[in-house]
Symmetry: C2
Subunit: 245 residues, 2 copies
Amino acid sequence: MPLPEVVVNRSSPVPLYFQVAEQIERAIQEGDLVAGDRIANEVALADQLGLSRPTMRQAIQMLVDKGLLVRKRGVGTQVVQAPIRRSVELTSLYDDLKRAGMEPATVVLALDRVPADDETSGRLNVAVGAGLWQLVRLRSLQGEPLALMRNYVPESVIDLGEADFGATGLYEHFRANGIHLRVAHQTICARLVDEAEATLLGGRVGDPVLTMTRSSYDDQGRAVEYGTHLYRPDLYAFETTLVDR
Amino acid sequence: MPLPEVVVNRSSPVPLYFQVAEQIERAIQEGDLVAGDRIANEVALADQLGLSRPTMRQAIQMLVDKGLLVRKRGVGTQVVQAPIRRSVELTSLYDDLKRAGMEPATVVLALDRVPADDETSGRLNVAVGAGLWQLVRLRSLQGEPLALMRNYVPESVIDLGEADFGATGLYEHFRANGIHLRVAHQTICARLVDEAEATLLGGRVGDPVLTMTRSSYDDQGRAVEYGTHLYRPDLYAFETTLVDR
DNA sequence: CAGTGGTCTAGACCACAGT
DNA sequence: CTGTGGTCTAGACCACTGT
C-alpha cells in the first residue's frame, strides 16, 4: 500500500496537483506515511489516480519543495526523516502568532509621514525625499513585549492613514487592498539593545536582540515595504527549511 | 526586444530549461533586463527559442523561485525591483566564504566519538547512546575569529576519522563521499556568549552572538548531520529570499 | 474583448541506481 | 537488465486582467 486513500475531485476549483499534494502531506502528518517510507513511482501513482504523469509529478514536486519528500533518480521517492515543522512562508509575525492560536496585542507607537532618506530610498527604489509612511509598533504576547517593528511604505503604494494596526497586521492590510506580496529579502543578525529599546522591550541595556530587516515586493515586482524589526531572542527564533534544487 | 540573445544548445547535457534560465539570469545581472522590465509571454518565447511551452515555463519558474521574476496572470512576467543578491543555498559557511573569494582558516578544536544524548539522538533519529562523531571547529577570517561550530554525525553515516577539516568543509567531505544533502532545517536565534566562547571568539563576556542550529538530510531522507553554530554578528548575517508560491 | 499565465493531457526518450 | 526519476513535446482548455 504505497499511498493510501488519495481521491481527487475533478469538479473542484482546487487544482488536481494541489489536492493530491494536500492529501499526501496529511498522510505524512497523521503518520500514515512515516519517515523513510517510499511511495510508489510516478507513473503508477498517476495511473492509480487517473491523472497524467506531469500532474502527479507536480504534486510530488510541491512536497519536495516543502522539504517533506526527497527524490532520487533510479531509486524512488521517500519521506524525509524529520520532525514535522512548517516551512517558512511569506507572512508577518502577526500571522504566525494568530495561526498558533496565540493572542498578540499590538500598540502603534507611531504612524506618520516622513521623507525617504538614503537608506529607505535605496531599499524601496524611490527618490530621496519621496513621501513614506512610517509605522512603529510594539507587539506583546500575554503582556510580555516580544517585538519592536519599524516599517516604511511608499505613499504611492497605499494609504495607511485609514488602517487600525492595533487590530490588523500590515500584511493583512496589504492583502485587503489588493496588494499581493510575492518576494521578500531578509537579513537576520544580532546586537545589543540601546536604552530606549530596552525600555520598550521590557529588558535592560546589554540584553541581546535578534534583528531582521526585510524588503517585500508585490506581484508586479514593485518594492512595497521595508522594515527593520527587533525580536526578543528568549521569545522568538527564525526557522527555515532549505531545499537543494 | 523582450528577451535578447538567448540561444540553446541541444547537444549539451545541460537541460534546455536550465540553459534558458541561466541566460535570462545573466541578462538581469548584467543589466540587459532591468527592474520592472516585462519579458515576452511564454508562448512567444517558446516559439522564438524553438522550445515547447512547458520547457519555457520551467525556465521561467526557476527564476520565479529564485525571486528574480514575478508572474501575474493576465498581465505578464516582470523583473523584480530588487538589488542583486544570491539566494540562500544549502551550503556551509565555508562554501560561502570560498565563493566570495575570502580565505577562511579553520582550526579543529576537537574530533572525537561521543554517545548520543537526548538532544542529539532526537535530532539525528538515532538511539540514545549510539555512536556519533563530534567535530568542533573555530573559523577565522584574516586572523579574526568568525564562527564557532559544533557538529554531530552518526558513525553509521560516514567515518570522519580520515578527514582533514582544516582544509576541507564538512559538506564538501560529504559530497566527496557520495552523500548528497537535500533538505535542512535551521533555527536562528541570539544570546550572549559565555566566558569560554568569548575567549575563543576573541570577544568579552556580554557580547551578543547569532546562534544557528541545523539538521541536514540526504537524498534518502536520512538525517546525516546536526550542528549548533555561533557567529559573530559584527562579521556575519543570514540572508534569505522568500517566495510566495 | 484580447492577451496573459495556470492547469492538464498522453505520450516519448534519456540518465542513473541497483540487481 | 529493470525500474526509477529527469526532461521534453505539441497540443488543449480555463481563469484572470485590463481595455
